[in-house]
Amino acid sequence: MELIDNLTLGFGVALTWSNLLYCLIGVVFGTFVGVLPGLGAVTAISMLLPFTFGLDPIGALIMLSGILYGALYGGSTASILLNMPGTPDSAVVALDGYPMAKAGRAGVALFMTAIASFVGGCIALFIVVNSAPHIVRIALSFGAPEYFSMMLLGLIAASAAAGDDLLRSLGMVLLGLLIGLIGMDIVSGQARFTFGIPILSEGIGFIIVAMAFFGLTEVIRNLEPTGTARSITPSLNWRGFLPRRDEARRSIGAMLRGTGVGSFLGALPGAGPTIASFIAYMVETRVARDPSRFGRGAIEGVVAPEAANNAAAQTGYVPTLTLGIPGDAVGALILGTLIMHGIAPGPRVISQHPDLFWGLLASMLVANLLLWVNIPFIGLWVRMLSIPYRLLYPAVMIFLCIGVFSVANSPFHVFLLAGFGVVGYVLSKLDCPASPLLLGLILGPMMEENLRRALLISRGDPAVFVTSPISAAFLALAVMIVVGSVVSRMLRRRQAKA
């Protein structure tokens, strides 16, 4: 049984003492950062990323998934208890989680959140185990034209998903691609856009950009005087953890629907856990016999998005690792880490590094289980929420600075962090979403490489992108996404006018 072998291998890797420890450290730190106001999963990962470089690739990735899961859970905790979602990831859970907490049922909400995460993760793992080899088989037949078209599709899909305005997101992708060009051209050895600064010939690391756009920019935005003073009054009336019987019954269906939505959306390039949780919530409001319960503490509204969230995080690893197409900023960070450790993403990752692939998937379930360790400490996490931001953000600044510095022990990179922080802040004021830029930055070099090879093989004939049926299908999908988003924008405008 190939399936059993793979899972045995995966859990064999995930359950070594050192990897368990990395996972636990990741979960605890992730929860810590995720609970803090204004800091979400992406910020948590980019802040802590440089400190995983000392580990072997598997350990680093396992720690990162631990951080991701911890941060997602920490974010949900803050949402449920305080109606204070740090990031969009956890905004959905607040819709029904906070009313539950106000009714004194925070314990139930948090407990069911953990269960839903676990169920979603388990089922998604099963789906991944069964589908990944097929995707790999197809992907192995891809040549340069197919890869180029697929990356183009991934970038366009991610842009369409990232904001309400496709033009803006596309611009950010292109900006990311251009920033990715800075440095030495691998083929010709030509230094591009380095302005004669030697250290720039190594290129601008994605970590610096991620830290600037998701760390520094966020801190600056949180310090704006318009930020309303947060009144922190966690309503912690524990009346046990267990849901009522009818709630338990309704949760089962909601978890399964959420998992389905999440598994499907996570596997698509361009969609990620955030979108999955929003759509799962929408599905629940449509399916429910009495939609008016939502927003007033319906358990389905807590359970379905959480399950979708985790399922999408799990299936999202498939396009990230096997195709090299990340779905969102978190996937992009994972991909960047992989490349930094010298592992080329692609269909061969599973056959060449099976321990890494299966170990990572297994460790996600382990991370889910380790989250349960957190439950008794919820009171402690909540008390941390009362740390005022004015004490918190200087500490965050230290993490950002030391993190960036330690990438190459170079003060120049820290100056770059400051510069990109300004750029990120200005762009955020123009409502330009940051994650398409990060995706473009990471995919840029690979896209150029595949474009070069495709055109070399076809002797300069661009028709190669449409004569290959797979490539043509990717391009057609990309065109459909563009047309669809343009049309829906026009319809919305007409509606707004009418």
Partner: protein, 161 residues
């Protein structure tokens, strides 16, 4: 279009500004890339992809500008969303705090860099209480030395030599 100065509404709209920035950056990259040698499609030079991508970004920028102008002609500033306000105080203070860290880490060592970083960051918020912030600076300096240098073993210089 009697309400307010219409030209200002266009110039401060987020579409117009974003478009200008995109177009300028795209053109700069395309122009810079062209100098590296465009090559041919079958043998792409180092400038091929930059020119392509920079040109595309410039087109996106122009499209944004055009859209803003069309909306402005059609509806005055009713159809245009203004750009968000930039708050200089947190922006400058936090940028300076990062720059101070960068400047001092190799010259004066980690302890001084941490303290400088925290204190300058404190300037960014109106709610800073200086007695607290000084304490945070000292705590973070000790924390960084213990966790990053002693525990994680990062090669950081602690003091000025």
């Amino acid at each position: 279009m009697s309400e307010g100065p219409p030209a200002a509404a266009l110039l401060s709209s987020r579409d117009f500004l974003t478009g200008l920035i995109f177009a300028a950056v795209g053109l700069a990259f395309a122009w810079g890339g062209a100098k590296y040698g465009f090559g041919q499609a079958r043998r792409m030079g180092p400038g091929y992809f930059p020119v392509l991508t920079g040109g595309a970004l410039a087109l996106v920028g122009l499209a944004l500008v055009a859209r803003a102008v069309v909306l402005w002609i059609g509806a005055g500033h009713a159809g245009l969303r203004p750009a968000g306000r930039i708050y200089l105080r947190p922006l400058l203070a936090l940028t300076a705090s990062v720059a101070a860290f960068a400047f001092s880490i190799n010259r004066f060592g980690l302890v001084v860099a941490c303290i400088a970083c925290v204190l300058i960051a404190g300037l960014g918020s109106g709610s800073t209480r200086w007695s607290e912030t000084v304490l945070v600076a000292l705590v973070m300096a000790v924390f960084s030395v213990l966790v990053f240098v002693q525990f994680l073993g990062l090669p950081l210089r602690l003091w000025m030599r």
